[in-house]
Symmetry: C2
Subunit: 164 residues, 2 copies
Amino acid sequence: MKKKDNKKFEISELDKKILTSVLDLKESNLNLISKKIKISKSTVHNRIKRMKVNKLIDGFIPIININFIQDQITAISLIKAKYGPEYAEDVGKRLAKIQGIWAVYFVLGSNDFIVLIRAKNKIELENIVNELTKTEGVERSETIMVIKILKEDFSDAYKFMIND
Amino acid sequence: MKKKDNKKFEISELDKKILTSVLDLKESNLNLISKKIKISKSTVHNRIKRMKVNKLIDGFIPIININFIQDQITAISLIKAKYGPEYAEDVGKRLAKIQGIWAVYFVLGSNDFIVLIRAKNKIELENIVNELTKTEGVERSETIMVIKILKEDFSDAYKFMIND
DNA sequence: TTTGAAAAAAAAGCTGG
DNA sequence: CCAGCTTTTTTTTCAAA
Protein backbone atom coordinates (compact mmCIF):
# COMPACT_ATOMS: atom_id res chain seq x y z
CA MET A 1 0.00 0.00 0.00
CA LYS A 2 1.86 3.00 -1.30
CA LYS A 3 0.99 6.53 -0.51
CA LYS A 4 0.08 8.87 -3.29
CA ASP A 5 2.13 11.97 -2.94
CA ASN A 6 1.32 14.00 -5.97
CA LYS A 7 -2.40 14.42 -5.44
CA LYS A 8 -3.70 15.46 -2.07
CA PHE A 9 -6.27 13.04 -0.76
CA GLU A 10 -9.57 14.50 0.33
CA ILE A 11 -12.21 12.71 2.28
CA SER A 12 -15.60 12.58 0.53
CA GLU A 13 -19.08 12.49 1.95
CA LEU A 14 -19.31 8.83 1.03
CA ASP A 15 -16.07 8.14 2.86
CA LYS A 16 -17.53 9.82 5.91
CA LYS A 17 -20.66 7.71 5.65
CA ILE A 18 -18.59 4.55 5.48
CA LEU A 19 -16.41 5.59 8.40
CA THR A 20 -19.41 6.42 10.51
CA SER A 21 -20.86 3.07 9.67
CA VAL A 22 -17.66 1.26 10.62
CA LEU A 23 -17.56 3.21 13.88
CA ASP A 24 -21.17 2.31 14.64
CA LEU A 25 -20.83 -1.35 13.78
CA LYS A 26 -17.48 -1.55 15.52
CA GLU A 27 -16.26 -3.76 12.72
CA SER A 28 -15.47 -3.40 9.05
CA ASN A 29 -17.51 -6.18 7.51
CA LEU A 30 -18.20 -5.27 3.89
CA ASN A 31 -21.60 -6.94 3.77
CA LEU A 32 -22.89 -5.18 6.85
CA ILE A 33 -21.58 -1.78 5.86
CA SER A 34 -22.93 -2.21 2.35
CA LYS A 35 -26.39 -3.04 3.65
CA LYS A 36 -26.35 -0.30 6.24
CA ILE A 37 -25.58 2.54 3.90
CA LYS A 38 -27.07 0.98 0.77
CA ILE A 39 -23.94 1.23 -1.31
CA SER A 40 -22.56 -1.68 -3.28
CA LYS A 41 -19.99 -3.90 -1.67
CA SER A 42 -17.46 -3.17 -4.39
CA THR A 43 -17.69 0.54 -3.80
CA VAL A 44 -17.38 0.14 -0.05
CA HIS A 45 -14.39 -2.07 -0.62
CA ASN A 46 -12.77 0.37 -3.04
CA ARG A 47 -13.38 3.32 -0.74
CA ILE A 48 -11.97 1.61 2.33
CA LYS A 49 -8.94 0.53 0.36
CA ARG A 50 -8.48 4.06 -0.88
CA MET A 51 -8.67 5.38 2.66
CA LYS A 52 -6.08 2.85 3.78
CA VAL A 53 -3.72 3.57 0.88
CA ASN A 54 -3.95 7.27 1.64
CA LYS A 55 -3.44 6.66 5.34
CA LEU A 56 -6.69 8.22 6.38
CA ILE A 57 -7.30 4.85 7.97
CA ASP A 58 -4.16 3.66 9.67
CA GLY A 59 -5.26 0.25 10.89
CA PHE A 60 -7.81 -1.10 13.31
CA ILE A 61 -7.66 -1.47 17.05
CA PRO A 62 -9.74 -3.52 19.44
CA ILE A 63 -11.97 -1.73 21.90
CA ILE A 64 -10.85 -3.13 25.23
CA ASN A 65 -13.11 -3.14 28.25
CA ILE A 66 -10.89 -1.47 30.79
CA ASN A 67 -12.76 -3.03 33.68
CA PHE A 68 -11.04 -6.33 33.01
CA ILE A 69 -7.63 -4.76 33.49
CA GLN A 70 -7.04 -4.71 37.20
CA ASP A 71 -5.06 -1.90 38.82
CA GLN A 72 -4.60 0.20 35.74
CA ILE A 73 -3.83 3.83 36.55
CA THR A 74 -4.90 6.87 34.58
CA ALA A 75 -3.62 10.38 35.19
CA ILE A 76 -3.68 13.75 33.50
CA SER A 77 -0.88 16.30 33.63
CA LEU A 78 -1.15 20.02 33.08
CA ILE A 79 2.19 21.32 31.94
CA LYS A 80 3.72 24.77 31.63
CA ALA A 81 6.67 25.08 29.28
CA LYS A 82 9.71 27.13 30.14
CA TYR A 83 10.03 29.14 26.99
CA GLY A 84 7.67 30.96 24.70
CA PRO A 85 5.28 29.16 22.44
CA GLU A 86 7.84 29.09 19.65
CA TYR A 87 9.73 26.41 21.58
CA ALA A 88 6.64 24.74 22.83
CA GLU A 89 6.21 22.29 20.04
CA ASP A 90 9.64 20.82 20.66
CA VAL A 91 8.76 20.29 24.29
CA GLY A 92 5.56 18.62 23.14
CA LYS A 93 7.48 16.27 20.91
CA ARG A 94 9.67 15.27 23.82
CA LEU A 95 6.64 14.63 25.97
CA ALA A 96 5.09 12.51 23.25
CA LYS A 97 8.06 10.18 23.37
CA ILE A 98 7.62 9.31 27.02
CA GLN A 99 6.35 5.75 27.47
CA GLY A 100 3.00 5.92 29.19
CA ILE A 101 1.90 9.22 27.69
CA TRP A 102 -0.63 8.38 25.03
CA ALA A 103 -1.92 11.85 24.21
CA VAL A 104 -0.28 15.26 24.09
CA TYR A 105 -2.39 18.35 23.53
CA PHE A 106 -0.88 21.77 22.97
CA VAL A 107 -3.35 24.14 24.58
CA LEU A 108 -4.28 27.76 25.11
CA GLY A 109 -4.31 29.33 28.57
CA SER A 110 -2.15 29.20 31.64
CA ASN A 111 -0.80 25.81 30.68
CA ASP A 112 0.94 24.84 27.48
CA PHE A 113 0.25 21.14 27.40
CA ILE A 114 -2.21 18.66 28.71
CA VAL A 115 -1.07 15.07 28.53
CA LEU A 116 -2.92 11.84 29.20
CA ILE A 117 -1.10 9.13 31.07
CA ARG A 118 -1.81 5.46 31.49
CA ALA A 119 0.26 3.13 33.61
CA LYS A 120 0.09 -0.39 35.01
CA ASN A 121 0.70 0.66 38.60
CA LYS A 122 1.79 3.42 40.95
CA ILE A 123 5.48 2.79 40.54
CA GLU A 124 5.21 3.16 36.82
CA LEU A 125 3.13 6.31 37.16
CA GLU A 126 5.81 7.72 39.42
CA ASN A 127 8.45 6.97 36.81
CA ILE A 128 6.43 8.62 34.09
CA VAL A 129 5.84 11.73 36.19
CA ASN A 130 9.52 11.88 37.07
CA GLU A 131 10.51 11.66 33.46
CA LEU A 132 7.94 14.28 32.58
CA THR A 133 9.21 16.67 35.23
CA LYS A 134 12.78 16.28 34.05
CA THR A 135 11.90 16.83 30.41
CA GLU A 136 13.84 19.73 28.93
CA GLY A 137 11.67 22.80 28.66
CA VAL A 138 9.10 21.81 31.26
CA GLU A 139 8.76 24.57 33.82
CA ARG A 140 6.14 23.12 36.11
CA SER A 141 3.56 20.39 35.97
CA GLU A 142 0.56 19.32 37.95
CA THR A 143 -0.52 15.73 37.78
CA ILE A 144 -4.11 14.84 38.50
CA MET A 145 -5.06 11.29 39.41
CA VAL A 146 -8.11 9.76 37.84
CA ILE A 147 -10.23 7.89 40.37
CA LYS A 148 -12.73 6.53 37.94
CA ILE A 149 -13.18 6.49 34.21
CA LEU A 150 -16.85 7.22 33.63
CA LYS A 151 -16.52 7.29 29.89
CA GLU A 152 -13.74 6.79 27.43
CA ASP A 153 -15.08 6.04 24.01
CA PHE A 154 -12.53 6.36 21.26
CA SER A 155 -15.08 5.79 18.54
CA ASP A 156 -17.02 8.78 19.85
CA ALA A 157 -13.84 10.82 19.64
CA TYR A 158 -13.97 10.14 15.91
CA LYS A 159 -17.70 10.21 15.34
CA PHE A 160 -18.17 13.66 16.77
CA MET A 161 -15.73 15.17 14.34
CA ILE A 162 -17.02 13.34 11.27
CA ASN A 163 -20.79 13.38 11.41
CA ASP A 164 -23.15 16.07 10.32
CA MET B 1 -22.20 -13.87 21.15
CA LYS B 2 -23.58 -14.43 24.60
CA LYS B 3 -21.94 -13.32 27.77
CA LYS B 4 -21.07 -15.87 30.37
CA ASP B 5 -22.39 -14.66 33.66
CA ASN B 6 -21.80 -17.52 36.03
CA LYS B 7 -18.03 -17.64 35.83
CA LYS B 8 -16.05 -14.46 36.05
CA PHE B 9 -13.81 -13.99 33.06
CA GLU B 10 -10.17 -13.34 33.74
CA ILE B 11 -7.64 -12.25 31.20
CA SER B 12 -4.71 -14.64 30.83
CA GLU B 13 -1.11 -13.98 29.91
CA LEU B 14 -1.74 -15.46 26.48
CA ASP B 15 -4.70 -13.13 26.02
CA LYS B 16 -2.45 -10.20 26.88
CA LYS B 17 0.13 -11.38 24.39
CA ILE B 18 -2.49 -11.60 21.68
CA LEU B 19 -3.93 -8.19 22.52
CA THR B 20 -0.52 -6.61 22.49
CA SER B 21 0.14 -8.20 19.15
CA VAL B 22 -3.15 -6.93 17.73
CA LEU B 23 -2.36 -3.45 19.04
CA ASP B 24 1.09 -3.53 17.49
CA LEU B 25 -0.05 -4.85 14.14
CA LYS B 26 -3.06 -2.54 14.14
CA GLU B 27 -5.11 -5.37 12.70
CA SER B 28 -6.41 -8.72 13.83
CA ASN B 29 -5.18 -10.96 11.07
CA LEU B 30 -4.90 -14.48 12.46
CA ASN B 31 -1.92 -15.43 10.30
CA LEU B 32 0.14 -12.45 11.32
CA ILE B 33 -0.66 -12.71 15.02
CA SER B 34 -0.03 -16.43 14.94
CA LYS B 35 3.40 -15.95 13.39
CA LYS B 36 4.28 -13.08 15.66
CA ILE B 37 3.65 -14.87 18.93
CA LYS B 38 4.27 -18.41 17.66
CA ILE B 39 0.92 -19.81 18.67
CA SER B 40 -1.30 -21.74 16.29
CA LYS B 41 -3.88 -19.88 14.30
CA SER B 42 -6.73 -21.85 15.86
CA THR B 43 -5.66 -20.94 19.37
CA VAL B 44 -5.38 -17.29 18.49
CA HIS B 45 -8.80 -17.53 16.95
CA ASN B 46 -10.30 -19.29 19.98
CA ARG B 47 -8.80 -16.78 22.37
CA ILE B 48 -9.97 -13.75 20.44
CA LYS B 49 -13.42 -15.25 20.19
CA ARG B 50 -13.43 -15.91 23.93
CA MET B 51 -12.43 -12.30 24.60
CA LYS B 52 -15.24 -11.09 22.37
CA VAL B 53 -17.85 -13.35 23.96
CA ASN B 54 -16.79 -12.15 27.38
CA LYS B 55 -16.83 -8.55 26.21
CA LEU B 56 -13.21 -7.89 27.00
CA ILE B 57 -13.01 -6.98 23.34
CA ASP B 58 -16.00 -4.93 22.31
CA GLY B 59 -15.37 -4.57 18.61
CA PHE B 60 -12.77 -2.95 16.43
CA ILE B 61 -12.44 0.65 15.35
CA PRO B 62 -10.40 2.23 12.57
CA ILE B 63 -7.55 4.50 13.50
CA ILE B 64 -8.36 7.69 11.68
CA ASN B 65 -5.69 10.19 10.74
CA ILE B 66 -7.13 13.34 12.22
CA ASN B 67 -5.13 15.53 9.84
CA PHE B 68 -7.55 14.68 7.05
CA ILE B 69 -10.48 16.03 9.00
CA GLN B 70 -10.44 19.72 8.41
CA ASP B 71 -11.59 22.13 11.11
CA GLN B 72 -12.09 19.58 13.82
CA ILE B 73 -12.01 21.12 17.29
CA THR B 74 -10.70 19.52 20.44
CA ALA B 75 -11.16 20.95 23.92
CA ILE B 76 -10.72 19.87 27.49
CA SER B 77 -12.93 20.95 30.38
CA LEU B 78 -12.04 21.00 34.03
CA ILE B 79 -15.22 20.77 36.05
CA LYS B 80 -16.08 21.33 39.70
CA ALA B 81 -19.26 19.69 40.93
CA LYS B 82 -21.68 21.47 43.23
CA TYR B 83 -22.13 18.84 45.87
CA GLY B 84 -19.88 16.50 47.74
CA PRO B 85 -18.21 13.57 46.04
CA GLU B 86 -21.10 11.29 46.91
CA TYR B 87 -23.18 13.02 44.27
CA ALA B 88 -20.32 13.39 41.91
CA GLU B 89 -20.80 10.19 40.01
CA ASP B 90 -24.32 11.20 39.01
CA VAL B 91 -22.98 14.45 37.63
CA GLY B 92 -20.39 12.44 35.75
CA LYS B 93 -23.05 10.26 34.21
CA ARG B 94 -24.90 13.32 33.02
CA LEU B 95 -21.74 14.71 31.48
CA ALA B 96 -21.08 11.41 29.74
CA LYS B 97 -24.40 11.72 27.94
CA ILE B 98 -23.55 15.01 26.28
CA GLN B 99 -22.94 14.61 22.56
CA GLY B 100 -19.40 15.68 21.86
CA ILE B 101 -17.93 14.56 25.16
CA TRP B 102 -16.05 11.37 24.50
CA ALA B 103 -14.27 10.90 27.80
CA VAL B 104 -15.23 11.68 31.38
CA TYR B 105 -12.68 11.24 34.14
CA PHE B 106 -13.59 11.57 37.80
CA VAL B 107 -10.49 13.06 39.38
CA LEU B 108 -8.81 14.00 42.63
CA GLY B 109 -7.92 17.60 43.44
CA SER B 110 -9.53 20.97 43.05
CA ASN B 111 -11.65 19.73 40.18
CA ASP B 112 -14.04 16.80 40.15
CA PHE B 113 -14.09 15.97 36.48
CA ILE B 114 -11.97 16.33 33.42
CA VAL B 115 -13.80 15.78 30.17
CA LEU B 116 -12.53 15.53 26.64
CA ILE B 117 -14.50 17.23 23.93
CA ARG B 118 -14.46 16.88 20.18
CA ALA B 119 -16.59 18.94 17.84
CA LYS B 120 -16.90 19.65 14.14
CA ASN B 121 -16.68 23.41 14.52
CA LYS B 122 -16.83 26.36 16.90
CA ILE B 123 -20.59 26.57 16.95
CA GLU B 124 -20.84 23.00 18.03
CA LEU B 125 -18.18 23.47 20.66
CA GLU B 126 -20.15 26.40 21.98
CA ASN B 127 -23.26 24.27 22.20
CA ILE B 128 -21.43 21.53 24.03
CA VAL B 129 -19.91 23.96 26.52
CA ASN B 130 -23.31 25.56 27.07
CA GLU B 131 -24.88 22.21 27.73
CA LEU B 132 -22.02 21.30 30.03
CA THR B 133 -22.39 24.51 32.02
CA LYS B 134 -26.10 23.97 32.43
CA THR B 135 -25.73 20.39 33.57
CA GLU B 136 -27.27 19.81 36.98
CA GLY B 137 -24.61 19.65 39.65
CA VAL B 138 -21.93 21.51 37.75
CA GLU B 139 -20.66 24.41 39.86
CA ARG B 140 -18.04 25.84 37.58
CA SER B 141 -16.07 24.77 34.57
CA GLU B 142 -13.05 25.90 32.67
CA THR B 143 -12.74 24.95 29.06
CA ILE B 144 -9.32 24.80 27.49
CA MET B 145 -8.93 24.90 23.73
CA VAL B 146 -6.51 22.56 22.08
CA ILE B 147 -4.44 24.27 19.42
CA LYS B 148 -2.66 21.22 18.21
CA ILE B 149 -2.82 17.50 18.84
CA LEU B 150 0.80 16.38 19.07
CA LYS B 151 -0.11 12.84 19.95
CA GLU B 152 -3.30 10.90 20.41
CA ASP B 153 -2.66 7.22 20.14
CA PHE B 154 -5.52 5.11 21.41
CA SER B 155 -3.58 1.90 20.99
CA ASP B 156 -0.94 3.28 23.34
CA ALA B 157 -3.67 4.03 25.85
CA TYR B 158 -4.26 0.29 25.91
CA LYS B 159 -0.72 -0.98 25.49
CA PHE B 160 0.65 0.85 28.50
CA MET B 161 -1.84 -0.78 30.80
CA ILE B 162 -1.47 -4.30 29.41
CA ASN B 163 2.21 -4.88 28.86
CA ASP B 164 4.81 -5.98 31.34
C1' DT C 1 -6.14 -26.08 25.66
C1' DT C 2 -3.77 -26.41 21.68
C1' DT C 3 -3.12 -28.09 17.04
C1' DG C 4 -3.07 -28.87 11.88
C1' DA C 5 -5.89 -29.74 8.13
C1' DA C 6 -10.08 -29.10 5.74
C1' DA C 7 -14.34 -26.46 4.82
C1' DA C 8 -16.77 -22.20 4.65
C1' DA C 9 -16.85 -17.38 4.29
C1' DA C 10 -15.14 -13.04 3.23
C1' DA C 11 -12.12 -9.92 0.98
C1' DA C 12 -9.75 -8.51 -3.00
C1' DG C 13 -9.31 -8.02 -7.82
C1' DC C 14 -11.46 -7.57 -12.62
C1' DT C 15 -14.29 -6.35 -16.36
C1' DG C 16 -18.41 -4.22 -18.19
C1' DG C 17 -21.88 -1.00 -17.84
C1' DC D 1 -20.54 4.08 -8.64
C1' DC D 2 -22.18 -0.64 -9.55
C1' DA D 3 -23.21 -5.73 -10.42
C1' DG D 4 -21.38 -10.02 -11.15
C1' DC D 5 -17.78 -13.29 -11.54
C1' DT D 6 -13.01 -15.32 -10.24
C1' DT D 7 -9.23 -15.72 -7.39
C1' DT D 8 -7.04 -15.23 -3.15
C1' DT D 9 -6.98 -14.78 1.63
C1' DT D 10 -8.96 -15.22 6.03
C1' DT D 11 -11.95 -17.19 9.30
C1' DT D 12 -14.23 -20.95 11.22
C1' DT D 13 -14.84 -25.66 12.32
C1' DC D 14 -13.46 -30.12 14.01
C1' DA D 15 -11.26 -34.47 15.31
C1' DA D 16 -7.21 -35.72 17.58
C1' DA D 17 -3.24 -35.04 20.89
